[in-house]
Amino acid sequence: MMSYLLRRLNLLVITAFIVTVASFALVYLFPGDPLINLTGIVPANSEAYAQLQQEYAFDKNLFMQYVHYIQEIYQGNWGLSISSHNSVLDEILLFLPATLELSVYALVLSTVIGIPLGFWAGLRYQRPVDYGILSASLLGYSLPVFWLGLILILFFSLNLGWLPMSGRISLLYDIPHYSGFILLDILHSGLAESQAAMQDAVNHLILPTLSITIVTSSIVIRITRRSVTEVMESDYIKAATARGLSRGQILWRHGLRNTLLPILPQLVLQFTALLTNAMIVEVIFSWPGIGNWLLQAIYQQDFPAIRGGMLAVSAVVIIFTLSMDVLLRLINPLKDRDVHGTI
């Protein structure tokens, strides 16, 4: 276990190193002055420029610049946004929780919907139920998430008028920022109208979450179904059948755990795709999250913001993937196998 943890730590360090190098390289790759791309400050005159140069070690070689960059990142100085002149890190901390909230709800919902349906399909392998679920999941898997979002808006918001089409919460409610998760914030705020605010926030959440969930849960169904059919064809299940166990007993005692173990790491891998989908969906639903924010940064050529956004999203994915990996390893009884780490 120790050597496993060390390997993971090694992977974490190397990955973090590569991501920071890449983000530092962006300073030079983006059009314009590298120093302005790094700091987001446009110096008024050449003296100010020289001072800035010294401050960020830009008069030294690339390696020293990188070392200084890492220090700045570590201290929380991610540069200023060119368009809003706010600290990039502060803005990210404001917008990222909204994305995470959406992603977490979608992830939980897709797992809750996807795994049972996948089990059902896998247990009824090549029967009508299986074909039905499989076709539905193929359709869901093929849906472009931005189009799905548009169609949902068109149908539920514009035609039926049931649900709001954009934003996180109605402007009527002023929820103080606490954790960034809107539902938690409402609970924490203790406002008089928190019941109504909660209802409103949930209404705003339904459509974006649904569009991500439809796409993700169909992938979960496919993964689960394949794992279930493979396990159910294996020899130890046949042996259990031969011993006279009923289908339910086989499923509970042998099937369930052996099927879920290979599924979980694959589900973790889907997180990247889910985050991407969440970032696209945000744009459609004007959800104030990191995807929307990054896109505005691109339209306005706000290079410090783009760099910071990339760093933040990669950090989220790396931390999530590695911690889930370690967690799954802890609960996996086959833990002594394959020591080599991959993300």
């Binding site: 991501v19 790759l29 783009i306 999203v313």
Partner: protein, 299 residues
């Protein structure tokens, strides 16, 4: 099965691996439907100028936002209706499918070629060099493809060409990863050991032993990459980072129609349906191929 074989000898007939896969593939009617659908789209990609009734960019000011022909106020001349600039939607969807699917196929082929080369290098190699490459790849795989594409577009500026470059660069790591894993897995099998004992060099083992065994799996991975490429290219077009509004690309057509979605729902429904059908066809073929490969290897 294929032609009349003499039954004089009691001899079991073994089809070649490719033929075996095709036989398995044929058994599933759904997959065959997908293949037909994909063929139709390929015909559209190749013969778009002959199939489209109008020039996709011809604006007719007198017939703005004409509903599709099945609507009571539609016209049979404009089967899918027209958009907010009076452009024929059917022609735009046909040209849009050409741009989206054609470019995606091209990008997948290019990135597959590059990924295969680098992946084979990583898979066959040992020691520090391949270890560094592997770690490097694992780190790149962490960053979502769309984010890579967004960053490249931010460096180079928006436009279809930059977008194509971005998606190619984003797809390559996946192909390297897959190829590396497949080469690693094959390297441990006995037929490779046999070839090595015969004195075959590494290059020879790669081309004569490993590659032929990987090719079908690569095609399967290629179909998945193709659906990812279509999704990415239309997503970038939709976020107006890719194709400009004048280029008929399905994603940018969707973002065009978004403002008038309430008045003209067909202008977003139809291009989206085209993307959906394309992806369904590709995924059906990919799934069919994968399960027929699995069946073949089991028997």
């Amino acid at each position: 099965m294929f032609m009349a074989r003499s039954k004089l000898y009691i001899e079991e007939h073994y089809p070649s691996p490719l033929k075996h896969t095709w036989n398995e593939f044929q058994k599933s009617h759904v997959s065959l439907t997908g293949l037909w659908l994909l063929c139709i789209f390929l015909v559209i990609v190749i013969f778009a100028p002959g199939l489209a009734p109008f020039d996709p960019n011809k604006q007719q000011v007198d017939i703005l936002l004409l509903p599709p022909s099945w609507d009571s106020s539609g016209s049979i001349q404009y089967l899918f209706g027209t958009d907010s600039l009076g452009r024929d939607l059917l022609s735009r969807v046909i040209y849009g499918s050409r741009v989206t699917l054609g470019i995606s196929i091209l990008l997948v082929l290019i990135s597959m070629l590059i990924g295969l080369t680098l992946g084979a290098f990583a898979g066959m190699g040992h020691g520090l060099r391949s270890s560094i490459l592997n770690h490097f790849l694992d780190s790149i795989m962490v960053i979502p493809t769309l984010l890579i594409a967004i960053i490249i577009v931010a460096i180079l500026g928006t436009g279809l060409w930059n977008c194509m470059l971005a998606i190619t660069l984003a797809l390559i790591p996946r192909f390297i990863h897959i190829t590396r894993n497949m080469v690693r897995a094959e390297c441990n099998k006995e037929y490779v050991t046999a070839a090595r004992l015969d004195g075959a060099g590494r290059v020879r083992i790669l081309f004569d032993s490993i590659l032929p065994n990987m090719i079908e799996n690569l095609v399967v991975q290629g179909t998945f990459a193709l659906s990812a490429a279509i999704l990415d290219i239309s997503a970038l077009g939709f976020l107006s980072l890719g194709a400009s509004a004048t280029t008929p690309e399905l994603g940018s057509m969707l973002s065009d129609g978004m403002e008038l979605a309430y008045v003209a729902p067909w202008s977003i429904a139809l291009p989206g349906c085209a993307i959906l059908l394309m992806l369904v066809a590709i995924n059906l073929v990919g799934d069919g191929l994968r399960s027929s490969l699995r069946h073949r290897l089991q028997h």
